[in-house]
């Protein structure tokens, strides 16, 4: 009788012993990374302003900005108009929305203790779009006194609460239910939004569609104030809750044991995530998957500590969306494509990869 002799299994690779830490960037290097991202944001912002239907040299872009910041007279009125009135606001809007959606993603992922959460996947963006479209379409007659952001916030908050309730079983949130509930609520809001669109004057429809797909085109300085304030305040609030968000990662019971007021924190995170999403959506429409990709990349770099993830994610999100906006403007010149097409095109493969990786074993 022949016996098969199996070779001994190859020796296990050398262990992790001796590694200084499990994260790519740790300790003081985190703040070097944050500073680097700040520099990158300025650089990509200047590049975004110089690139367009008329390409401007970086030097002249810088001179115009410098003139405005110091209050001195602008050297060239035409370039001044292009740089300061047309392009600078849209670059700033892209940066703000990128930061806001990333912060919203971080908050939602902490809230549901699941890295698959994102304002778009959970249907919150669709919810916010519905409120915004209602106000845009029916105007002040129906929603007297309610601003676009306010209405978007209202519907966003309702949709996130519905998803949150639907995704629970026995007090635990399940991956599959969360995604399904988000998709369902998202579809329902999209259907309602479509109905509203049919009621709109056909001449306004194209603009509405473009906005719904996500676009930073046409941003003006007056669009910047409210989102800047909301995103700054919300991000700051999240930063202050970094330690509590960390505790939440260990489960509700363990978080309570560590001195976190879990219910209050969850309500706070729900409100802040909805507010961030609604603000972004009311300014630029539906831009998906930023809140998924950016926080994940940030965690890949600095680990799970929210006090490091948040600053890195907000800056990275700002850099990312400004860069994507450059692509949206230059891919099909002279036409401009909705930025949401690009973020979704990048985001869906990312999402599927993440889903597969999680299904293959928690890691």
């Amino acid at each position: 009788m022949a016996e098969t002799v199996t070779a001994p299994p190859p020796a296990a690779p050398a262990g992790l012993a001796g590694r200084r830490g499990p994260h790519l960037v740790s300790g003081a290097m985190t703040w070097v990374l944050v500073a680097g991202l700040g520099v990158a944001l300025v650089a990509v912002g200047i590049a975004a302003i110089s690139i367009g239907s008329v390409n401007l040299p970086v030097g002249s872009v810088w001179r115009v900005i410098f003139a405005h910041l110091t209050g001195s007279a602008s050297p060239d009125p035409l370039r001044d108009q292009i740089v300061w009135d047309l392009r600078a606001p849209r670059v700033l809007v892209a940066a703000l929305v990128g930061a806001g959606l990333s912060a919203a993603g971080v908050a939602l992922q902490a809230l549901v203790r699941n890295p698959l959460a994102d304002p778009y996947i959970l249907g919150i963006s669709s919810g916010a779009s519905l409120g915004a479209v209602l106000v845009v379409s029916y105007g002040t007659a129906t929603f007297a006194g309610v601003g676009v952001t306010g209405a978007a916030f209202g519907t966003a908050l309702v949709s996130v609460i519905v998803v949150y309730v639907l995704a629970q079983r026995g007090g635990r949130l399940l991956d599959s239910r969360l995604v399904l509930a988000g998709v369902a609520v998202g579809y329902l809001c999209s259907a309602a939004t479509s109905y509203v669109q049919l009621q709109v004057d056909p001449t306004e429809l194209h603009g509405l569609m473009f906005w719904l797909m996500g676009s930073v085109a046409g941003a003006t300085w007056s669009d910047l104030g409210v989102p800047a304030a909301v995103i700054a305040v919300c991000t700051l609030l999240l930063l202050l809750q970094g330690r509590n968000m960390n505790a939440l990662m260990a489960g509700d019971d363990a978080a309570a044991g560590l001195g976190t007021s879990v219910q209050a924190l969850r309500i706070g995170l729900l409100v802040v995530a909805s507010l961030l999403t609604a603000t972004s959506v009311s300014v630029v429409g539906g831009i998906g998957f930023v809140g998924l990709m950016v926080p994940h990349t940030a965690r890949f770099l600095v680990g799970g500590d929210h006090r490091r993830v948040l600053p890195v994610a907000t800056l990275l999100g700002a850099v990312f969306l400004v860069a994507v906006d450059i692509a949206a403007r230059t891919a099909d010149r002279p036409n401009e494509l909705p930025i949401g097409i690009f973020t979704t095109g990048l985001g869906v493969p990312f999402f599927l990869w993440l889903l597969r990786r999680r299904a293959g074993g928690e890691g």
């Binding site: 992790l16 499990p22 019971d253 044991g257 001195g259």
Partner: protein
């Protein structure tokens, strides 16, 4: 730290899971909470974590009502190791243990060298100093539980609550963990499902059945063969452990 649970009733969605439970853990003692599955052990512990508010009764630490303290104040007095040693996110072991410092820090305060020293000592006490910079998710089950005990140690609270801490651990890790927590000099309240562990390690056991206290006292007085058969539905042999000399319960099915 003296823990008193007095007449506590706790409901989940209106149904009383725990009814009128009284329990005292004297300072420095190891109190075991035992009972069949579904008897309300975890639910009762949740009223001590402050994650489920009792609908009736009082939980107090050294005479102060736990549910009237601020969340942070409570965390300075009692630490928690929960049943599912889960943790999502990419945290190093040292970062997980540092979470135990949370109740000691103001909202804007960062961990300083004193905190880092506490974290290091806690890791040393549980024998995980070498794993400080590993990812928590790469630890074995037993190492994870020890890391969570280290987190509780870093909290520097005199009372430690554990919910079935030996679940899913291999036998060596189970006994290692119980030896470890026993050696910490803290007041311990632990839900245990292994009667032999309860007999060997606890000073006092409380037996829950259908949400009520069925019996309470030193393990050997409570866990008689007749009582074990009635409550747990198994035959029990109670004697001295042939190796350790500690009380030992061997069980067999009734049929």
């Amino acid at each position: 730290m003296r823990l008193v649970i007095a007449g506590v009733t706790a409901r989940i969605e209106g149904t009383a899971i725990v009814s009128g439970v009284d329990l005292v853990a004297e300072p420095g003692s190891f109190v075991g909470l035992i009972g069949p599955n579904g008897s309300g052990k975890s639910t009762l512990l949740r009223t001590v974590y402050r994650s489920l508010r009792p609908s009736d009764g009082v939980v107090s630490l050294d005479g102060d009502d736990l549910w009237r303290m601020r969340a942070r104040q409570a965390a300075l007095r009692r630490a928690v190791v929960t049943q599912h040693g889960e943790l999502s996110g990419e945290f190093s072991v040292a970062e997980v243990v540092a979470m135990g410092r949370a109740p000691h820090k103001g909202i804007l305060e960062r961990e300083n060298s004193a905190d880092r020293a506490v974290v290091e000592q806690s890791l040393e006490r549980v024998g995980l100093a070498h794993a400080a910079e590993r990812l928590f998710s790469t630890l074995s089950g037993g190492e994870r539980q020890r890391a969570l005990v280290a987190r509780a140690l870093a909290q520097e609270a005199p009372l430690l609550i554990l919910d079935e801490p030996t679940n899913h651990l291999d036998v060596r890790a189970q006994l290692g963990l119980l030896d470890l927590v026993r050696s910490l000099g803290m007041t311990l309240l632990a839900a245990l499902h292994d009667l032999d562990h309860a007999a060997a390690y606890c000073d006092h056991v409380i037996v829950l059945e259908k949400g009520r206290v069925r019996a309470s006292g030193p393990p050997l007085e409570v866990l008689t063969p007749g009582f074990v058969a009635e409550v747990f539905g198994v035959r029990a042999h109670i004697g001295e452990h042939p190796i350790t000399g500690r009380p030992h319960i061997a069980v067999a099915s009734l049929t």
